[in-house]
């Protein structure tokens, strides 16, 4: 369910680190909790993200939810798919509906985040 090569936050974001590139998204648990996602607000390319600070927001029919940066770095790409099809975030949160890609300023930051197994236990316990 939760990819082994991702790391996870308590706020339900994931990050995939490949060299000095990080890809960030929200977890399947997060999209389930939010319900029908209708709007995604992302930072601009070039924005500097700081670990733990809000990078944007995801809105469902019912509510707005902040998305926090799991790691620090500079935004190199945002997922244009989500502007026209925010519902993709309900369908493929760990794949096609990633949010942003970063050039990481401190790749080691991700090592402190939860592994897939730890996250699975975490969301299991949260219920």
């Amino acid at each position: 369910m939760y990819p082994e090569n991702f790391r996870y936050t308590k706020e339900h974001e994931w990050v995939l680190v490949e060299g000095d590139t990080g890809t960030i998204g929200i977890t399947d648990h997060a999209q389930q909790e939010l319900g029908d996602i209708v709007y995604v607000d992302l930072p601009k390319v070039g924005a500097h993200l700081e670990k733990g600070k809000a990078l944007g927001s995801v809105e469902s029919v019912k509510a707005v939810s902040d998305v926090y940066a799991p790691v620090s770095g500079e935004v190199t790409e945002t997922n244009g798919l989500l502007a026209d099809a925010p519902e993709k975030l309900n369908e493929d949160p760990h794949g096609a509906a990633w949010l942003v890609k970063l050039k990481l300023s401190a790749p080691a930051e991700a090592e402190n985040l939860m592994t897939a197994a730890e996250y699975q236990t975490y969301v299991g316990a949260e219920k």
Binding site: G35, D36, V38, Y39, D41, S57, E59, S60, V61, K62, V64
Partner: protein
């Protein structure tokens, strides 16, 4: 929020078995969604949906002067109601603000049945009792009723399979007592979705039975259980007020664009003096609809700006599944509360363009 345990309707275990997402709604453990808000919303607009609204309160007024008391505490004209007829009305304080918005049903000359909001029911009961200087008795009856709403263009066909009562003969905002699924019920041709439909009152012990029969009867129409999430998007499209949002103790019906439930010429009633002054002098603010033009969703409580200055607030806002637009209702100075005004909604500290529009946003084809 208090630490008191959440209240449960008789259908609580049914919702949980269906895998509903449950939320604390004014102290009640209620389903916010089952299959998804948009899916449920569309079921009601296109076919039929069923809602557990047993958290709603009921108050009954009996006695020789039941009509006089009911008329005295509400804004609409109770004297105009016929047997078996209902209407939407306001329960006001002397200062003109809402205690609650309610449905008044005339059962008999000496018996009125009030359906009130769940989180206001205790307050409503105390308020009505405090105003009772008539030969009438006020009963807190919420424990005697469960309520299930069947809503959508196929609501009648669904419910008709379960009852010998000719539903086509019950006009909109009329009701009839009869048998539904073998059980005594009150069938009201009312709803909170902007769609055709019925609200069925039964004893709490029969709620699970009736719910199951309705689900079975509606299966051929693809009936869906619907939660409070869809109830909210549906009522917002139809511009029906929600207590705590469009209306509350600080807002009068004339401000809330509910002048149609205020009958100033019917005689004395609680709040009338204030409303007469408001009618003569005019109100300062008024409810108006808007659509977002820029990217962003105006939501409940967000500030509204006019010409760069704060001018009002959003009472309810969100995506409209039927119209595929982001819509909302807001209070603005009365002279600006007309369609066609350019406004900005402050969405998380960013002004986003919107425009005021005609309401309701959605009106069903008759």
């Amino acid at each position: 929020m208090s630490d008191a345990p959440l209240l449960k309707t008789p259908l609580n275990s049914v919702h949980r078995a269906l895998g509903a997402k449950m939320v604390d709604f004014g102290g009640w453990d209620m389903p916010v969604q089952y299959s998804g808000i948009i899916d449920e919303h569309n079921a009601v607009r296109n076919s039929v949906g069923v809602f557990d609204v047993s958290h709603m309160g009921e108050i009954e007024i009996h006695g020789p002067e039941a009509a006089r008391l009911t008329d005295f505490i509400t804004t609409n004209n109770v004297q105009k109601l016929k047997h078996g007829q209902a209407h939407y009305s306001g329960l006001l304080y002397e200062h003109g603000g809402f205690v609650d918005d309610i449905l008044v049903h005339k059962v008999e000359d000496d018996h009125y049945f009030l359906c009130v909001n769940a989180s206001n029911q205790d307050k409503d009961f105390e308020h009505i009792r405090s105003q009772n200087r008539f030969n009438a008795q006020v009963d807190f009856a919420s424990g005697r009723y469960a309520q299930i709403a069947v809503q959508g263009p196929n609501a009648r066909a669904t419910l008709q399979k379960l009852t010998p009562v000719d539903l086509a003969a019950i006009k909109y905002y009329w009701f009839k007592d009869g048998i539904v699924g073998g059980i005594p019920a009150r069938i009201a041709h009312t709803g909170y979705t902007g769609e055709d439909g019925y609200e069925v009152y039964v004893t709490p012990g029969e709620a699970v039975n009736i719910w199951g029969q309705i689900i079975d009867a509606g299966a051929e129409f693809g009936i869906k259980p619907c939660g409070l999430g869809a109830r909210n998007t549906l009522r917002l499209e139809a511009k029906m007020a929600l207590y705590g949002h469009e209306i509350d103790a600080s807002i009068s019906p004339l401000e809330a664009d509910l002048g149609w439930i205020v009958k100033l010429d019917k005689g004395e009633f609680v709040g009338r003096d204030t409303l007469v002054k408001q009618k003569d002098g005019g109100v300062a603010r008024k409810l108006v609809g808007f659509e977002m033009r820029g990217r962003g969703i105006g939501r409940d409580g967000y500030e509204v700006y006019l010409d760069g200055a704060p001018a009002g607030w959003v009472t309810s806002g969100g995506p409209s599944p039927t119209l595929c637009k982001n819509i909302g209702l807001c209070y603005l100075p009365v002279e600006q509360a007309v369609p066609g005004r350019n406004i900005q909604v402050m969405v998380r500290n960013q002004p986003v363009d919107a425009v005021t529009v005609e309401t309701p946003f959605y009106k069903r084809a008759k």
